[in-house]
Structure formats: structure tokens, C-alpha cells
């Protein structure tokens, strides 16, 4: 008898648990839907407003009354295509060179044990504590002397983006640390040089982190405002998209250019986002792996 009672009790309790789990799951679904809406709304708005024809000013409603591609057409008559090209070239070059530099740095710090290794890492940690903004002033002046500012800003931008990129070695070093050292040693025993070990054994295994590095390096120039602002100061053709579109939202321009900003924003975001979503897997791996190891 007593056994029966307790078993029915357990059943009851089980049902209760199930009901409360259902309830909390429903709450979570509601929350997730709410979050999705909040997170997507700005992008939906920007997309919708880029098609608005009736006015170019900022308005309190979202859905256009008259739809059209006017804003996109108007973009062509501005310097926007030039900015776009500037940013694209800078992004491509940065993706190539930064990846090479970061991989050199992180591979070395992960695999080699030399006397200056620890001091070097400590030095870079300390250097990273200085606000990067500080060095911009002098870099700007030096580049100005070299004639790499204003209309010729792209090579200057690339130079600055890649030059110090070795300091961002943390994530990929964390990845290299996880590749077993016995692989290197086996190849070394077979007579491979260090260079051959890197090219033939490590790099093929490091594909995820190579893609991660390329992706982040490619995306960074699209969002850089500070240095591009310094370096293109006073010209329009030397700007990148961030500086150009930022200036459209100035007090004296915003009424004329607000919807054009939306259209430009869509054109910038689209390719970057598509690329990102395709390579999302690698990005997630890099972020989750890198953050924990510091």
C-alpha cells in the first residue's frame, strides 16, 4: 500500500515539475522572441527607411509612404563610391597582411621557447594598456610628411592597421597551443626544418584560426572611425565609409542626407554581413576559444 502511495506521489510531483517546466519554457520563448525583435528592429528600420522617397529628413514613423530607390541612386552622385572603394581596398590589404603578421607572431610565441619570450609578452601587455588614440597624433604627422594623408589616405591607413597588429596575437596563440607539440617533434625527427613544419603540418591544421583572423582583419577597417578621421581630415575623396557616413549625420547635413545614410549603411552592411554569416562557425570558435584563455 505504502509503496503505491509513494509512487503516485512521485507521479504527481513529476507532473508538477513538468507543468512548471512548461510554464518556464513558455516564459523563455516569450523572452527570446522579445529579444529577437529588439535586436532586429534597428536593422529593419534602417532597411525600410533607405527606400523612403517622400522626404530625406528624420521622421517619427518607420514604413515609407512612397517607396523607391532614389536614395541609392543619389548615392552614386556623391563621393560614396570612392569611400566604398577606399574601405574595400584597405580591408582586403589588411586581411592579407594582418593575417600573415598575426600568424607569425602567435605561432612563434606558442611554439618556440627563447630567452626573450616572456619579457616580450609582458612588454606587449604593457603597451596594450596605453590608449591607442595617443599614438594617432604622431602617426598622422609622420604620414603627412610622407604624403600619405588626405587624398592618398589608403596606403597610410593600411600601414597603420597592419603595423601593430602583431599585438593581437592572443586568440590565435591560444589555438596553436592546443595543437599537440608531438606533431612538430615527429616531423623534426624525420628531418623537416622548422619552416617545413609550419607550412606542411601546422598551417593545414590551423585553418579555423586562419579564417577567423582573416575575417576579423577584413571587418575591422569597415568600422574604423578614429584614424580614418585623422588621416582624411579636410578632403572628401580620402575618407572611408565610416567617416563619410558619420559626417552625413552632422547637424547641417542630417536633414539632407538622413535617408541616404540609411541606404549607404545598407550597402556597407550587406556584403560584410553575408561574408560573416557564411563564416560564422569559425568566428564563434575563435571567440569562445580565445576569451577563456585570455
Amino acid at each position: 500500500m505504502s509503496v503505491n502511495v509513494s509512487s503516485s506521489k512521485i507521479e504527481k510531483r513529476h507532473m508538477g515539475l513538468k507543468a512548471s517546466r512548461n510554464l518556464s519554457n513558455t516564459a523563455i520563448y516569450i523572452l527570446l522572441v522579445a529579444i529577437s525583435i529588439i535586436w532586429l528592429i534597428p536593422f529593419v528600420c534602417i532597411l525600410l527607411q533607405s527606400f523612403r522617397v517622400e522626404s530625406t529628413i528624420q521622421v517619427g514613423y518607420v514604413i515609407p509612404r512612397v517607396w523607391g530607390l532614389n536614395n541609392y541612386k543619389n548615392l552614386l552622385s556623391t563621393d560614396f563610391p570612392k569611400w566604398y572603394l577606399n574601405t574595400f581596398i584597405a580591408a582586403m590589404a589588411t586581411a592579407v597582411f594582418q593575417t600573415i603578421i598575426v600568424l607569425c607572431m602567435s605561432y612563434t610565441l606558442s611554439r618556440f621557447r627563447f630567452k626573450l619570450r616572456k619579457p616580450l609578452m609582458r612588454m606587449m601587455l604593457i603597451l596594450g594598456m596605453f590608449p591607442g588614440m595617443l599614438t594617432m597624433i604622431i602617426l598622422y604627422n609622420v604620414l603627412k610628411d610622407l604624403g600619405l594623408t588626405q587624398a592618398n589616405s589608403v596606403p597610410g591607413l593600411i600601414l597603420v592597421y597592419i603595423a601593430s597588429s602583431g599585438m593581437g596575437y592572443y586568440v590565435s596563440k591560444g589555438f596553436f597551443d592546443t595543437i599537440p607539440k608531438s606533431l612538430d617533434e615527429a616531423a623534426r625527427v624525420d628531418g623537416a626544418t622548422r619552416f617545413q613544419v609550419l607550412m606542411k603540418i601546422i598551417l593545414p591544421l590551423a585553418k579555423p584560426i586562419v579564417i577567423y583572423t582573416i575575417l576579423t582583419a577584413f571587418m575591422a577597417p569597415w568600422g574604423d572611425y578614429v584614424f580614418a578621421r585623422y588621416i582624411s581630415f579636410g578632403t572628401s575623396s580620402g575618407k572611408n565609409v565610416a567617416v563619410g557616413l558619420y559626417d552625413w549625420l552632422n547637424h547641417d547635413q542630417i536633414d539632407k542626407c538622413y535617408t541616404m545614410f540609411c541606404a549607404g549603411g545598407v550597402l556597407v552592411a550587406l556584403p560584410v554581413t553575408i561574408l560573416f554569416m557564411c563564416l560564422q562557425k569559425y568566428y564563434v570558435e575563435g571567440v569562445t576559444g580565445g576569451a577563456v584563455k585570455g
Partner: protein, 513 residues
Amino acid sequence: MIKFNTLDYLKLSKWDRFCLKIAVFLNLIPARIFALVKKLLILIKNLLLAIYNEAADILVTFINGDWKTRLSYVVMGFGSIARGQILRGALFLLFEIVFILYMILAGGHWLSLITTLGKKGPSTTYDPILDVYTPVYNDNSFKILLYSVLTVFFIIAFIFTWRVNIKQNKIAQKILASGKKLKSSKDDLRSMVDDQFHKTLLALPLTGIIIFTVLPIFFMILVAFTNYDGSHNGFTNSLFTWVGLDNFNTMLSWTANTQGGVQSYSATFGEVLTWTLIWAFFATFTNYFLGMFVAMAINKKGINLKKLWRTILVLTIAIPQFISLLYVGKMFAKNGIINGFLMNMGWIETALPFWEKANWARVTVILINIWIGIPYLMLITTGILMNIPQDLYESARIDGANAWQQYRKITLPYMLFVTGPYLLTSFTGNMNNFNVIFLLTGGAPTNPAASSAAGSVGYTDLLVTWLFKITTGAEAAYNIASVIGILVFVAVAVISLVVYNLLPSIKNEEDFQ
């Protein structure tokens, strides 16, 4: 101080325990400072010892050396060339020639001007025929300082190479004396991709870092001790020169507070620093806890479409921040979509002052930062949450722990343990979070009391955005900007050092493993 044993300690209330912990921490500070000073002294001692040893070795090598070695003291690489290591020797020799040429042609000139940063400022000459005054530019303080720093770097590099050259001679002599053969130039080239491969790999990245980071930082530290600003730009209007600690005085002395309704630099600095710390605290921890919460919600058993929820959040990382931040910033404007929506619904009569009032703006910035930050934190915490051993929860459930207790006693300690270092870097990163503040508010609303030289600093300005405003502002006070930069460095370094030593994952590495 009273000593507590375990029993006494357990008798204390929670609050008392907390106070006790703080008291113990404060009590340890003098000991910590003492330890630090001791460490520094030992470091200096070791450094002096190392220099002494090097000097002694240089002398002994000279005395014991043959004529090839001795001649290498003057003509770098001679010994290597004479012993058949042509490639090495040639590189040493080339470096010496370049160095000497540079010093004669340029370096010496720049170094001789370093004490005053130039003697002759710009002047004008009168042209009687055309009846115009044309400006004549003479010394350029900026270049003098820059090239002097470069020259000092070059000299250090030369001394280092000279020392290596002597060491090479010593080693070569030893090898030859023991009857072995020296490495040929071919061997040297091969070792560049083999046992010396790390040097080859590091050459390019390190050169970049030294030229584009180390050199500028040295330069800007020196600028903090000059009067380099818009009206002393060192070339076209007036030279700049050394002013000692004046800039630090302007920034840190509280005596000159609020003169004639205008806020002094020091008062502005105090305000901006306070807000920077408050911002960094909230930006870090709101994101951390809410991001963890969202990750747990998505991870929960029985929730479907996990991938979809994650993808929606990750999408916001993909879109360049300047677009999303600028656009969201405008959404909250007086005539923006948010206010328009609220007014259309009839919930408010007049537009809410999201960006117009100091505290409104500060709260709005923190809220929007949550929108920016949660996707990253969701990604980071998801992986770690899945690593928590499930049997911990299993046994907690059997003991009757509810969801909150499980979170409080299992999830949170585990997360804090693993992500401690990340939280620290994220805190210091937020102190320097230029993008979010600048693109959202540009520092607005402006602080009307601040002086114009402070570059129209606002209530949401962080130290870094303030620094940027000062350098791009009308008065372009680079010297003050450098001081701010140095102070940011000091703040970040102190916080990192103190917190790093307190982190549980550093103190007891073995827990949770």
C-alpha cells in the same frame, strides 16, 4: 590586529565577515607595497650586476682576443669576415657604416637640438620689390623631438649589435681553439628557417610594433613634458619647449578649481574619470550577467530553435558598429523613431530627453551598450556553460536545490572562476571604449562649465573620447592630451595589477579542475 580562528569567524554575521575581509585586505596593503619596493630594488640590483658582468666580459674578451677580435671592437664584423663567415661579417659592417653615416648626416644634428627643441622659430622677411612679408620657417620642434627619439633608439640598437659582434668573436675564437669548424654562410641561411626560425618570424611584426607603437608612445610621453599645442605647434607659429611637470600640475592640482565660472582641467578630469569608472563597471557587469542569462535561456533543455536564436543575436555582431551605433543613436533623438512611436501611441506628451540631460544620456548609453554587448557575451558564455559538469547539477537537484540556488552555488562560481581574466580585460577595455560613446553621443550633452580649452567636454565623455576631442579641438592641446593618455595608462595598469592578483583563477589554479 585581532586574530580570528575558524570558530570565531564562523560566528560572525555576513556583514561582519565582509568587513573583516576588507580590513584584512587593507591591512595587507603596506606589506604589499613593501614587497613591491623590495622587488624593484632587487630588479635594479640585478640590472646593475648584469651591466657590470657585460662590461667585464667585454674587457676580458679584448684582453684574451687575437688581433682579429681586437680589430672587431672598432670595425664591426671584421673578425667574422677574417674567419670566413662573410655573410655575418658583411651585415655587421653594413650596419656600422649605415649607423655612422646616419649619425654624421642627421642624428648628431637632431640630438644637439634636443635640450631646447630648436633655437630659431619662424620669422618673416620683407620683400621690398613686391611689398610683401613672406614667412620663413626655421627649426621644427616636432621633427627635432621625433628624430631625436629615433636616434636614441638607433644608438641603443647599435650598442646592442656591437655587443653581439663581440660575443660572436669570442665564440668563434673558442670554437676554432677547440679544433672545430665554424658555420658557413650557407649554414647561417639555413638556420634562419630552422633553429633560428623564430627570429625570422618575429622580425617583421616586431619592427612594426617598435616603429608604430613603441616609438610613438615614447614620443607622446615626452610631449607630456612640453608645451606642444595649437599655439605652439613647433613649426609654423611658435616652437615648443620643455616645461617640466607643468602639465601634470594643471591636470592634477586641485588648487586652481573653478575660476570665474570656468571649470579647471583638474575638476573636469575628476568628473570624467569618475564617469569613466562608473561606465566601465556598469558596461562590464550588465553585459556579463545579462549575456550569461540569455545564454542560459537559449541553452535550457526543451528550448527549440537554439540555432535560430543564436544566429539572430550574432547577426548584430556582423554589421559594422558605426552603422548600428549611429543609427540607434539617432533612433533615440528628439525627433527619432522611439520618441515618435511613444508619442503616436499617446504614452507621452513631449519627447523624452534621451540625449539632452546628463543622467538620461548616461543611462541610455549603458542600456544601448547592453544591446551591443549581449551577443558577444552570449557566444563566450555558451561554450563555458556547456563545460560545467552536469553531475554537479544532478546532485544539487537531489539535495533539493532550486534553480536560483543552483545558479548561485554552481553556475556563478564556476563562471566567475573561468572568466575572471576576461572580466578584467573587458573592464579595462570598456574604460577605453571609444566607439560606443563617440558614435552614440559624441560625449553630449556638453558640460557648459568646462573651459573651452578642454574641447567642449560632455557628460558622457570617457577619458579617451575626451583625449580625442582635445587633440582635434580648436586649441589642440597635445600636451594635455598626452597627460590624459599617461593617466589612463596608470589607471588601467593599477586596476589590472591589483585585480589580477586577487583573481581566484590566479590564486588557486587547481579549483574546478
